[in-house]
Point group: C2
Chain length 107, copies 2
């Protein structure tokens, strides 16, 4: 089953901010910012989250807002940050957010 994703033009800045205005989702996106595809299980592990169900809602929020691609692969999902789309639509936004998250973590 292919999951629905908004096209680049359908992304809204409110949607992106709302999706990233949550510590768990922001932490997940920081992991995905490393580049490439990640499977859900490995991101959960890095986040220290044991309950897979906790993240199902978060992945959907990130996907629906256009922040990530979520692709079924066998019994699990592969995740990719939509950096190209986000950078094209909102230049500097993702970098400013990620820099802010790093600054908060460091303080």
């Amino acid at each position: 089953m292919t999951l629905r994703h908004p096209e680049r033009a359908q992304i809204s800045v409110e949607g992106v901010l709302s999706a990233l205005g949550n510590p768990t989702r922001l932490a997940a996106v920081r992991i995905l910012d490393g580049g490439g595809e990640h499977n859900c299980a490995s991101v959960l592990k890095m986040l220290g989250i044991a309950a897979k169900s906790t993240m199902t809602h978060h992945w959907r929020v990130l996907r629906d807002s256009g922040v990530i691609w979520q692709r079924p692969s066998g019994r699990e999902y592969m995740l990719t940050l939509r950096r190209e789309d986000l950078d094209a639509r909102y230049p500097g936004l993702l970098d400013a957010i990620l820099a802010g998250a790093r600054a908060d973590s460091a303080s």
Copy 2:
């Protein structure tokens, strides 16, 4: 009565994103970005919102997240965008968000 505001160091990027990930609050901040103090009534008028009560919650979210100063003045409140604090803590973030909001409005 003086309202409670977070100090600059208490502001978090999640809090700011969550506060601005809402169309009404984002529109209000775009108005405040013009600079200076605005009274609540004039912002409501510019937003086309008749019910003052609708905004009470929104002002609190913006204040609690460190996005605005809200100062009592007689029977109403004066609002100011905390641009200096936000720019100091998260360089480029507010500008990227406001540019994104303008781009969304234009499309």
